[in-house]
Symmetry: C2
Subunit: 504 residues, 2 copies
Amino acid sequence: MHTAKSLIALSAWLGLQLAASVCLCAAVADSTAVEQWGVFEVSLRGPAAGNPFLEVQFAAEFRRQNRVVRADGFYDGDGAYRLRFMPDAQGTWTYLTRSNRAELDGKAGEFTCGPPSKGNHGPVVVRNTWHFGYADGTPYFPVGTTCYAWVHQGDRLEEQTLATLRAAPFNKLRMCVFPKDYVYNKNEPPYYPFERTAAGANDLTRFNPRFFQHLEKRVKDLLELGIEADLILFHPYDRWGYKNMPADADDRYLRYLVSRLAAYRNVWWSLANEFDFMKEKTMSDWDRFFRIVQESDPYQRLRSIHNGAVLYDHGKPWVTHASIQGYDFDKARTWLETYRKPVIYDECQYEGNIPRRWGNISAQELVRRFWLGTAAGAYVGHGETYLDADDILWWSKGGVLHGESPKRIAFLRKIIEEGLAGGINPMNDKYPVAGLEGRYYLYYFDAHQPAEYEFDLVKGGPYKVDIIDPWQMTVTPVQGTFEGKLKVKLPARPHLAVRIRKAE
Amino acid sequence: MHTAKSLIALSAWLGLQLAASVCLCAAVADSTAVEQWGVFEVSLRGPAAGNPFLEVQFAAEFRRQNRVVRADGFYDGDGAYRLRFMPDAQGTWTYLTRSNRAELDGKAGEFTCGPPSKGNHGPVVVRNTWHFGYADGTPYFPVGTTCYAWVHQGDRLEEQTLATLRAAPFNKLRMCVFPKDYVYNKNEPPYYPFERTAAGANDLTRFNPRFFQHLEKRVKDLLELGIEADLILFHPYDRWGYKNMPADADDRYLRYLVSRLAAYRNVWWSLANEFDFMKEKTMSDWDRFFRIVQESDPYQRLRSIHNGAVLYDHGKPWVTHASIQGYDFDKARTWLETYRKPVIYDECQYEGNIPRRWGNISAQELVRRFWLGTAAGAYVGHGETYLDADDILWWSKGGVLHGESPKRIAFLRKIIEEGLAGGINPMNDKYPVAGLEGRYYLYYFDAHQPAEYEFDLVKGGPYKVDIIDPWQMTVTPVQGTFEGKLKVKLPARPHLAVRIRKAE
């Protein structure tokens, strides 16, 4: 909404602020109470004629004591206007709408923000440089999976995907906003993001509210499962024209999406999948997209961008964490030290058996990569690509999981969650190890199989030692406690991990 | 022998050439017949007083038709002087000695070089840019192992090592000339290369002939087993003073060693193990050592140098092939294309269970690395480091093999030998593959497990396809023959190879 025209509207709006703040208008909200980090929604009727997506500005300011948060509303079709807001503090909030249309302007109200319900820990934010946490202080260690186009498969398959996720170890899901056209992904989506003619021509000036309503429903479904929705805003695998829209359509799309979705606390913004494979976009386009999201989002949700062959500069200030396609875990240390941000290997190839090289690593190899990434102080993401008679591959369409890695990833997640609440940092030794000096060490020995190893830890112990088999999913305590230099007998088998914790 | 003083002697010697060539002196050789690529030896008595190692020059020219080959002789102690020569062509050879001492000078003779005996294929040379072959045209694919200090262990263990090698798949052995001081290697050697005082001081001007006689015996033992002796001339693991000799002692040592050993057709010169860990030497020292070996060796045996953390520039003209410590097989292609020489990953870590990271990879991992290297168009070397109550680890002392990799390496060697006589070259595909376009392809799928793959080969076929399990050591032919694009069903298990050959 920050076109030249809207700047004029904004100036007028600012002039009305003082008067508006004392105006007592009728409440227009769907409810007058909301939990902390929940979504408070304002619904209004407004103009349906012309092109509301282009012509109507609609926003509101939310206030609690001295805090003011501005959020944009959006047109939801059929004369319906909505505005969503996530209160981040308990107590009484007031709001006042502003619009260039009288029906939407100057509407004020208030609501009470109460305590969060069970399982609501607030949004995930970056914490301790290289890690994440929920807003209420609960640790959050990302263990993601990938279902790029799952929201474009129709309700039956989508419900099955949700049922699978309910029983799976994943707490983050990479998913595209736009439909996908790629191998094993040739089906038409049930909904399109823009109005279309029968011949398939897009009207890029008119969003399709049903598309976004459906997307939101799925984001809320994930929220209820405790899963972060890592929304991919652009991607190159497209036959409908979404990868090469003109700049004004791109920018309008970003603002519309943010206005609809930012209030959901489980939303993350992933600017692109394989941004560098989108030859229609330049680096300055990507920078602009980041800044648009950054300035539009009242909550500063996590922002990242995923690479194909070329890395984006994750040091740029609007990037909250590095989202990496790759599996060179030796680079994690450099990136962690350079960016001083969390690093997620969101795509390190997938467990599966398709001919494509990125989609046929063994379960053993994917589990190995999870451990390598973890022991590098980074995070790793899952995907699965087993051939299917109906082309339903988890990595894109969802459905059910067939692989052997998820239960081992669940085991690793448990190990991580039993570890330090603040996360484990990259450390320096001959084998991959992450932890916190004097407190916690998680070694992964990969193809190495020493019969014994002398762990040269800082003075401080005593330490307890566990030998972990990531594939067998066993934790075997080593008898006794250790100090400083720990010479530990090991099973002389490859692909084991060793956990060393300061004895309480 | 190329000191200023010896240059004067050389000038005098050249002046005598014409006269000498018609002199008919008594034969002084140990025999008058030798097989092609065998060793013809001249023995003479000469001065034992003073320091013959410094004071006596002794060489000979060998002639057959228009060819002249000069070789240096050496002092073997107790007044014995020897000169060894490997004739590379059958027929009658004559020779004439030259020395600055009358007893050794002007001795002439002739001998007959007959056909090589069974199993004698001549020395190994570089062939087809990236490969090797015996001089008689027989293919030679290096499959090496490592017993750094095996010749310093005493006869009992050394004989056991030879017995092990007799049944093992290796046709090259990396071994140090000098004794070794390192973990698991603290024993004194039976022989020292230089005269020593009782207190252990070296007389670097006096070689110990018994040391070299013993070394030669072991090199000959390897020759009889068909094993190339990849002799390591310097190494950093030393407590006796051989790693930091002055330059004149280094140079004299190199010339003495070459004069004694170059005639054995299975000798390769490896200038160093981990040259860059020898902080006493500079790069110009290494260049000089190469040039000394190059100018002293009448046969131009293979020359390489093995790195620690920093690569020597294998592009330098005196390097015949790159000897690599490392296991990044993705780099092989670059090196092969840059150096245009064979690349041997002579040390890619060892199967074993010791605490050191380089000595505890699993058998599976070492076999995997052999296949990765082979499918990169390079060669790979073996080593084994299992803990032993008596500290007898194969990698250094020899003895017996305990591991699970050698029989799989034997299997791979068989696969390679069944392939192209000229060797298989690096190729370009999504998976590691080496071969020759239209004729032969050896793919290795590593952790990838496609259920099918379309091999896009050049037109030409028909091709036959085999699925190879490197660990189970099975070769399973795929039914039928294929043309051009081969869509092949694969077992969807990791760590398999696929061999594609043009049907005869």
